[in-house]
Symmetry: C2
Subunit: 247 residues, 2 copies
């Protein structure tokens, strides 16, 4: 009774548990029966149950805490409006949330991730600011920003509490346009730790380039969010065309 296509035991178990979650038989935030009980309940081995539960963690449906139990994940997603405001701060306030920032590190690094290629980043060393953005005390974004090294220490200090674009704007920087690359990706190591999500968990990434009137001064960065914490919205006119056509 093993190995049949499309009818793997752990898959059947997964589907049944999914059904129970969707039908609120297992309520949001509530604990599931223990793996041992489920194993007896389903008439399969404990390992097969664990396999199913683990897959459901990767799918964002469950969340297990060692020593405590397995729980139904609560879904509450924050929706970011891309063309309303350039700062997440305003966006959060608009939705009645309390945004806050935790600075992680401040280093000098090169931009390495090849995903940045489309944004044509500079090759040299840049200031690298890593931080976590919270909304209502739950972390929703892990942000890594890269700036030219010509930023004064005074400005640097304000990054602890404010968004980079806000700080720079307050100091007279005039932004002209924003280029965004949006993609999905399995959670990075940092994201796994920050959001307590398992390996391979789907995340939404936004790689950005903020251009300014000063041609050589651009801010680059990535923000990574668990798929169930953030989505983004953008509205385009039918006659909208980009500033310049390439090629």
């Amino acid at each position: 009774m093993t190995g049949q296509i499309g009818t793997a035991l752990h898959e059947a178990v997964r589907q049944e548990i999914t059904r129970r979650v969707r039908s609120a038989e297992y309520g949001a935030g509530q604990a599931l029966p223990s793996a041992a009980i489920l194993a007896e309940d389903f008439g399969v081995s404990a390992i097969t149950i664990k396999r199913a539960l683990r897959d459901l963690q990767s799918a964002g449906i469950l969340r297990s805490v060692p020593g405590l139990g397995t729980f139904v994940r609560e879904q509450r997603r924050f929706i970011r409006d891309l063309d309303f405001s350039l700062t997440s701060y305003d966006d959060a306030l608009r939705l009645g949330l309390k945004p806050s920032i935790h600075l992680i590190s401040l280093t000098r690094e090169k931009i390495q991730d090849p995903a940045f290629d489309v944004l044509e980043p500079p090759a040299g060393l840049m200031l690298c600011v890593r931080k976590v953005i919270f909304a209502d005390d739950t972390p929703i974004m892990y942000d890594t920003s890269y700036l030219p090294r010509s930023v004064s220490d005074q400005v640097l200090d304000e990054f602890r509490e404010k968004f980079i674009s806000d700080v720079l704007r307050d100091h007279g920087t005039q932004f002209t346009k924003t280029k965004l690359l949006i993609d999905a990706a399995p959670a990075s190591d940092e994201a796994q730790q920050t959001f307590a999500i398992p390996n391979g968990y789907p995340t939404l990434r936004r790689l950005y380039r903020l251009s300014t009137k000063e041609k050589s001064f651009s801010v680059f960065g990535v923000t990574e969010s668990p798929f169930d914490r953030l989505a983004c919205v953008v509205e385009l006119d039918a006659d909208h065309k980009p500033p310049r056509r390439r090629k």
Copy 2:
């Protein structure tokens, strides 16, 4: 030697294999040594190796084919320019690719997914068109579109070969604006089959609403793509503001 935090065996194995892939020790498209050999090589059980290999499949790094072997996934990502053209067709051509469409089904359904809520979809039955879009013979999008039922059969027939927005535009429909909700999500059942990806595989979704001059006529839909097949780019002006402010 079990259960230490952050040093799980399968994790160490996963990292080492990842390193070998990144350093091209295991070349793109090439087969890895079999699980049995790797088990001996690493000095761990075959099951632990299989666990690591499975996690790397979910992360899009490897791909296993039963009976054949485990291979390094080839990464070639298609980048969709959101504000350049409204149709993927033009976009594909611009990049020198051969786009093609495979119609999957044509039904009458309601829009059910709550992710559509932000786009304010109608409650009633709509025409539902499902299809797969290929670029250079590899599937890159699974599209589900919803249209008002007032579409003529003649128009309907053209959906087999063309993009919906193109067909409607050819028949005189004038689009005004596009509202997009972009998020990540674990692969749906359909996506798992279409793209041969495992459960929980990260995908990029784009939910859209195409509005027309006729107020009651809007086209809704979702396109889902594996994270390693598609990303999208958008460029915004610093002074860009949405048509109307809500609240």
